[in-house]
């Protein structure tokens, strides 16, 4: 059995175990005097979890003899690094929104993100960032009154 299939099957089983554990927990907390209906919350969680467990076992069983690695999207090391960089900056952006507010976080985000995707010129980077952040702020915060966090420094 190839490693990829093993990991996928294991994930199936892990998620199903979480569901089963939750279902058992809910069933054990059933209050006999409260109105639960014929199917309590625990039983309803258990059913898809058990189905997922069976699906995972069937998946592993059917693929256990297949030693070939299924075709995946070709790995491009440089591209992969860029994708990871984009994701990392995105996570930083979301974190910074809470810390310094939407406006400042957006400026940092675009400056870094444009750099990662390949805009080498800082002048172009700054101009683009200014325009896009300005437009977004005007449309979403000013006109649409979306209330983003102001950050710990400005709240």
């Amino acid at each position: 059995m190839n490693r990829k299939v093993l990991i996928e099957g294991a994930l199936f089983i892990l998620i199903s175990c979480l569901g089963i554990a939750e279902g058992i927990r809910l069933e054990s907390q059933v209050d006999a005097q409260s109105i639960q209906g014929p199917v309590g919350p625990g039983a309803y969680v258990l059913f898809p979890s058990l189905l997922l467990l069976i699906t995972g076992i069937v998946y592993l069983f059917r693929n256990c003899r297949n030693r070939k690695t299924p075709k995946a999207i070709e790995n491009n090391a440089g591209g992969k690094a860029q994708a990871l960089g984009i994701m990392a900056v995105l996570c930083l952006y979301v974190f910074l929104i809470d810390v310094c507010g939407y406006l400042l976080a957006s400026v940092v985000f675009f400056l870094l993100e444009f750099r990662i995707v390949g805009i080498q010129s800082w002048a172009k980077n700054i101009i683009l960032t200014g325009i896009i952040v300005g437009v977004y702020y005007t449309v979403f915060v000013y006109f649409c009154s979306m209330s983003f966090p102001r950050g710990i420094f400005f709240s």
Binding site: P41, A83, M87, C91, I97, F110, V117, I132
Partner: protein
Amino acid sequence: MDLVYGIINCLTFSNLLYCFVGCILGTLVGVLPGLGPASTLSILLPLTMYLDPTGSIIMLSGLFYGAMYGGSTTSILVNIPGEASSVATALDGFQMTRQGRAGEALWISAMGSFIAGTLGVVALSFIGPGMAKYALKFGPPEYFGLILFSMGALINLSGTSIAKGLGAGLVGILLSMVGVDPLTGVGRFDYGSIELMKGFELIPLTIGLFGIGEILISAEAGVGKIYEGKLKNMMPRGEELKRGLVASIRGTLVGFIPGLLPGMVPSLTSFMAYDVEKRFSKHPEKFGTGLIEGVAACESANNATAQAGFIPLMALGIPTGPALAIILGALMMYGLQPGPVLFEANKQFVWTVIGSMYIGNVILLILNLPLVGMWARISLIPYKYLGPTILAICVIGAYSPRNTMFDVWVALAAGALGYLMRKNQWPVAPLILGFILGPMLEQAFRQSLAIGGMGIFFTRPIAVFFILLTIITTIISVRLLKRVPKEIIEVESEV
């Protein structure tokens, strides 16, 4: 005759302007991922209080069904569904773009939306109250049967492995259970967290799985532009046009009839239509590779559902979805009580609004066909400019439903999940379908048991019909999938 007067009434400058503004806003809302009609309607509602009731409802309605048109544009061009109802459109629409057929995809999407929208309004005009009364016969067991039938689509959306599709769907159902039990109020999968107790929202999940996931995949693949070709050959021709139009009509029927029922939102019926189209097709294995029917059916269904939703809203005062609930709120704020009385006591208002829908569909056809180039320019912008811009919009879109950063983190996590799923050829669509259908299925199932135990599913004819239909069509689908060479089906799982 009332309809004629209604259309004439709508042709005043002010009503036309409100209709136009509503349609433009609706298209824009549809194009932007995350900004759904419900959230935009709720933002606009206070502003429309300054307008007269007719103008206000015309604009709000235009925004609602306009979003159904606009949502397909980014689904097709950049594989980022603008609305949940356009998720199914991306399955084949984006593949058509990759093959240089973005123009045809956009054309059939707009035309299918127009056909469905117009036929829907015709039905609203002539059979409104009569159709709505049958919806009262649908109780929880019937809903359960209908949703179970929709679940059968999980099999068809599975790609190479039914186990993967079923697994993804079940994970989607489990994700939908995070939060609070709908009948008893106990926390599920919350692990003591207040945020988890609120559950996951659909919009951040779809934005992450499709939007952020797509950008990460494109970045890794080194995409220079999303679409390099020109938008030539807008109109499909010959056999392809015929297939597209037939699929539009079928999608309209699939979207319209369930659309009369509460809970049947456009996102659900678009998947149903896709599934039905696949079952009717001589080449079901080609779905997901860029078939025009895959685009036409979904878009027609979601528009038909949007229009159909106005029938129970106006005839019975029952909103079939969150956006229509806001429109109901607007009606009540103006002192207009929906129901049979509305058609009699406020005839001019009702028929003017209905008349505006005819005009609105024409406006939307113009916005989305000849002017689609304006929206399509998005696809010609180099990806290095577009990618970060779209990511920032995804963040805004994920934040907007509940104004909480937790949803944005959910979108990020979903983005990582979507990226990994697509890299390893796991189908994403069943996960979303399971997430959407899970709560509805649960509620219908448990309410049915509370009414009459398990036996109720065998004694209610409509429920029995749908359950048998599910079993039969699932068996047929599994057998058909086994016959198709795996190499062909592999492409389907790349959403």
